[in-house]
């Protein structure tokens, strides 16, 4: 059986969060490069997961996927898109068995045979009874993912739930832990494991308190919540980097109209798609805080290659390369991106801009923002009216939006080309609003 992939679901969720409400089924299916029928099937599956994950909903209150992941600042306290990481399929009998085994091992350390007995006693008689081999395989898996621990001692081995973390902390300490996990998952990358832990702790705290207390006092303003979708590929890529292996994937440039193509098993039915098969040596992952997006930087036949993580599908690790080759390519890349505002590897230029201080009455929010967001740039000159900021960057393309975001508080001094471009852009922008001057 082919490895289960969630590319289609992730592409859909990304499109849904970005274009909230813009497309109908037909338009979604077209853009995802799948049939409306496949689209409906995907939605049905996601809906089941969403509604099981947020069980508190009363019957009849089930929500559509699009409603459930609609972002609202004061209400979307839980990470909206986390449920996609709950999507790995498990047979029903297996889900019963695994949860039964874990519940049993939370009480006391047990042997395989004792666990067998518990399964025979407590599992629904309609489900097939597991044999010893199955239980052993389950235990092996659970130990691998670190959920259970084998106790020291001789055969037969005893296993227990590996949950010292909550056993040994007081309620007070658990609140501190919950808060820390919440803050770090929301403000740092990567976040998915943090959100999963937050979810577990939250349920645990809710179970153990008599009165329902507010356990979510925190809000995060202007937060790129959809960034967690791209973490789906992150760990596969990081592993490939660590193993010095190439990867292969079907790439859809975000500028292309379609963002997914069905993976047909029968080559006769293979359709033309706009995606491109890429094989490349991954070197570095970049997270761009400006847009909340992820990039893969790698080495291909043409030298440095840059991919947007959102365009990567059907990702697989392939052949290994020598340590020397990887080191060489990696240090070449490090040299090239030293002055990248984001990922531009163009020629370094010195940008100089004059920032105008707001009136004396206010705190200098312009200067504060430049210091906060100006990366490695420096203030080289300062007086009561303005200050001059200087930075060496690879090309001006990536820094330009940031400089423009300061509006009339920023004047480009150098390079002259950038100064001209900025003038031209402000003229165009002015033209957008000029005709309606009287009305506003």
């Amino acid at each position: 059986m082919a490895k289960e992939s969630f590319d289609k679901e992730i592409q859909y969720l990304r499109m849904l969060t970005l274009t909230s409400g813009a497309y109908n089924r037909q338009q979604f299916a077209e853009r995802l490069g799948i049939s409306v029928h496949t689209f409906d099937k995907t939605i049905k599956k996601l809906k089941t997961i969403v509604n099981t994950t947020y069980q508190q909903l009363a019957p009849g209150q089930e929500k559509q996927v699009s409603e459930s992941i609609r972002y609202s600042y004061y209400e979307s306290i839980d990470p909206l898109l986390l449920f996609i990481f709950r999507a790995k399929s498990v047979k029903e009998s297996e889900s019963y068995r695994i949860s039964l085994l874990l519940a049993a091992m939370s009480e006391e350390a047990l042997t395989t045979m004792e666990l067998m007995d518990i399964c025979c006693r407590d599992l629904n008689p309609d489900l097939p009874l597991p044999d010893e081999k199955t239980i052993r395989a389950d235990l092996k898996y659970l130990e691998e993912v670190g959920v259970i621990k084998r106790e020291a001692g001789t055969r037969p081995f005893r296993y227990r739930l590996h949950n010292d973390l909550i056993q040994q902390l007081s309620d007070e300490e658990l609140y501190d832990l919950y808060d820390y996990v919440d803050v770090m998952a929301n403000t740092q990358v990567p976040s998915v494991q943090g959100y999963l832990l937050r979810d577990g702790l939250k349920k645990h705290l809710a179970r153990n308190q008599v009165e329902k207390q507010v356990i979510e006092p925190f809000l995060y303003k202007y937060h790129y919540y959809s960034r967690i979708l791209d973490e789906a590929h992150l760990f596969t890529l990081l592993r490939a980097i660590r193993n010095r292996r190439k990867v292969c994937f079907l790439y859809f440039s975000p500028k292309a109209e379609k963002s997914y193509a069905s993976q047909n098993t029968n080559p006769l039915f293979e359709r033309d798609h706009e995606g491109k098969v890429e094989q490349t040596l991954p070197l570095k992952i970049i997270y761009d805080h400006q847009y909340g997006r992820w990039y893969l930087l790698s080495n291909g036949r043409e030298g440095v290659r840059k991919y947007r993580m959102e365009g990567i599908t059907q990702l697989e690790e392939t052949e290994a390369v020598s340590e020397e080759l990887w080191d060489k390519k990696s240090s070449e890349l490090a040299e090239k991106i030293k002055y990248s505002w984001l990922i531009d590897t163009g020629r370094p230029v010195t940008v100089r801009a004059r920032f105008f201080n707001p009136g004396e009455m206010e705190p200098n929010f312009i200067r504060n923002r430049v210091l906060l967001q100006g990366q490695w740039g420096q203030i080289i000159e300062e007086n009561d009216d303005f200050f001059v900021y200087e930075i060496t960057v690879n090309g001006t393309f990536e820094i330009k939006p940031w400089l423009r975001s300061f509006g009339s508080s920023c004047e480009i001094v150098e390079p002259i080309q950038l100064r001209r471009e900025m003038i031209a852009e402000w003229k165009e922008i002015q033209a957008y609003y000029e005709p309606v001057r009287e009305n506003i």
């Binding site: 289960e4 970005l18 274009t19 813009a22 099981t52 600042y73 004061y74 709950r86 999507a87 889900s95 695994i98 949860s99 659970l142 670190g146 590996h162 949950n163 010292d164 902390l169 501190d176 832990l177 808060d179 820390y180 996990v181 403000t187 494991q193 943090g194 999963l196 832990l197 577990g200 507010v214 356990i215 006092p217 925190f218 995060y220 202007y222 919540y225 992150l234 980097i241 992952i285 997270y287 400006q290 847009y291 991106i337 505002w341 990922i343 105008f356 906060l372 990366q375 423009r404 975001s405 509006g407 009339s408 920023c410 004047e411 003229k427 165009e428 922008i429 957008y432 609003y433 309606v436």
Partner: protein, 268 residues
Amino acid sequence: MNLFEKIFNYQVLARLEDSGTFMITSHERAWLKTMLDHPAAIEAFTAETLDKLRSLLEQDQRMNTSDHLLEKAKSTEGQVYHPLLRPLRRHITNTSGICITYQLKRGQVLSEQSGLPYKLEYSMVKKEWYLLWYHLRRRAFMRTRLNSIVTVSTESIPTEKAELILAHVARTLDSRKSDVVIEIVREYNQELSRILYAFSCFEKDVAYDEEQDTYHVKVSLPGDEMEFLLSKIRFLGKRVRVIEGNYLKRRMLEASTKALERYGADYT
């Protein structure tokens, strides 16, 4: 490490929830162990708890993503945790009132004001924490930087009164939002994804007109936060145009006119 694990499956999770079982994987422990290395951990826990956590995670691996993951265009991370978060979160959880002394923008100090705190808000843009609270005497919604708080202590408030206020807060916050409509200029539809990413941190609805091949983004936000939206619109430049929202239109006209004046002779 694979994020799509059987153990995270939604049915498994739902059944564990039914039996009241807490489980944690090595993935989550590795993440936590890595995060505990962050200086913020010192503010977040008592020294004793932090020691306990570190020893509980001793056998676990770190996540080590930082070797190969580079963050770009990141603001200087001034403050991730603030020492007041712990006491204030307890005031909020216990629905207790506060007596607060804080500094205003221009340095003036307001002493011993009575209020009810309801949320702690982190600005991802300014990298700072704020306390959202209700000012009892002035009946006003307050937003105070934790750094500006001089002292804060508990002050009792009758439960019924606190509940009424919290209900009022919840009702009012949502109604204070207003809508702005921004058009993505059609020639830049090629950059749609990038533009929509820039708006993805807002509450929004997008409408697509297939005939015109045009996208309209309706952003909802409180009036006092238009500044941030404006900086995004200027960030995107000529790719977008405000089509509904007179305040923003006026500000964009003003910004472009003033910017061009700055460039003076070069412009004409």
